[in-house]
Subunit: 199 residues, 2 copies
Amino acid sequence: MSFVTSHMSISLDGFVAGPGQSEESPLGIDGMKLHRWHLNDPKHQVDQAFTDRLLGPRGAYIMGRNMFGPVRGKWGNSDWRGWWGSEPPYHAPVFVLTHYPHDPITMEGGTIFYFVDGFDAALAKAAEAAGDRAIDVAGGASAVRQALQAGCLDELVLDLVPVVLGSGERIFDDLSELTAEPVEVATSPLATHIVYRIT
Amino acid sequence: MSFVTSHMSISLDGFVAGPGQSEESPLGIDGMKLHRWHLNDPKHQVDQAFTDRLLGPRGAYIMGRNMFGPVRGKWGNSDWRGWWGSEPPYHAPVFVLTHYPHDPITMEGGTIFYFVDGFDAALAKAAEAAGDRAIDVAGGASAVRQALQAGCLDELVLDLVPVVLGSGERIFDDLSELTAEPVEVATSPLATHIVYRIT
């Protein structure tokens, strides 16, 4: 089975996205504050190292539908192809969680979006696609929470950003138990990066 | 004005105490899980350094009433003198927040518990007592939240413990804004210690 990772930026009050996510505001109100550390240019050297880690090659990805796009319910005639332009940064199969069927979408650079109903089904397909390479649960909050609840994560990297959002989406709710060990830590002024091994 | 610090152990899901605090369970259900890093013996060297920092001398302390003890409402004939035996680890004046008057309690080793109505009044008295030495807001959640809301904290040290509690007391709720910068970080397997400068 592939090594399964997730890498999430999170506020001091535990939110990985702000409230009110929409096409205009995909990360919710103030959600962009969580991502300055890897969007700023030039970057602090610590943030650069964790940006490289975030973008590092994976064999497959799992992604929640809300992270893929703002369309809710049935897809209808939507031609939405993700937030990332013609060449998304994944360069691998991305399994998007949705209850509504959708044909695969082939993008430039090796990214193919597949649409799968249910986390376990997506994990099985991702494992098949990834072989011995790692699978990343890219987000958002609900997908990572499902991964934690399923107990399938081997590694969780948190970028703890020193802001409060007040409301939004949390990843650690409704977890009966989690046993993790921090194995690596580094900080910049914009984020404290902690690598957890989930045991 | 004194440098004002606080040092709190916090779970991944943001709780500094579990639910159901009582005389039998002062930290709430599973709350003790947050404090293994400084209660274990022997300690990891990183945890020892932050234990020393936690216990480091201060000119005065501010403490919420629920941290002082399990008595609620009027003090009545309670002879409660804190959780810490005859010689508490504070060795300085401790200003306990309470709406109910109570005579000061002098303990061994220099700790005197004073009882004050309102955070601002407690801060003024602590500043007077501390002179140019630091004031520590010792906890619990409500007292630290009041300090954050009042904007009086200069430094916040978090010991981020890799467990989830599911419910309990949070410190970052109901904060309109917080601007902090991590200036120091170190980890042991039991806790990731982050020193924030509040700006």
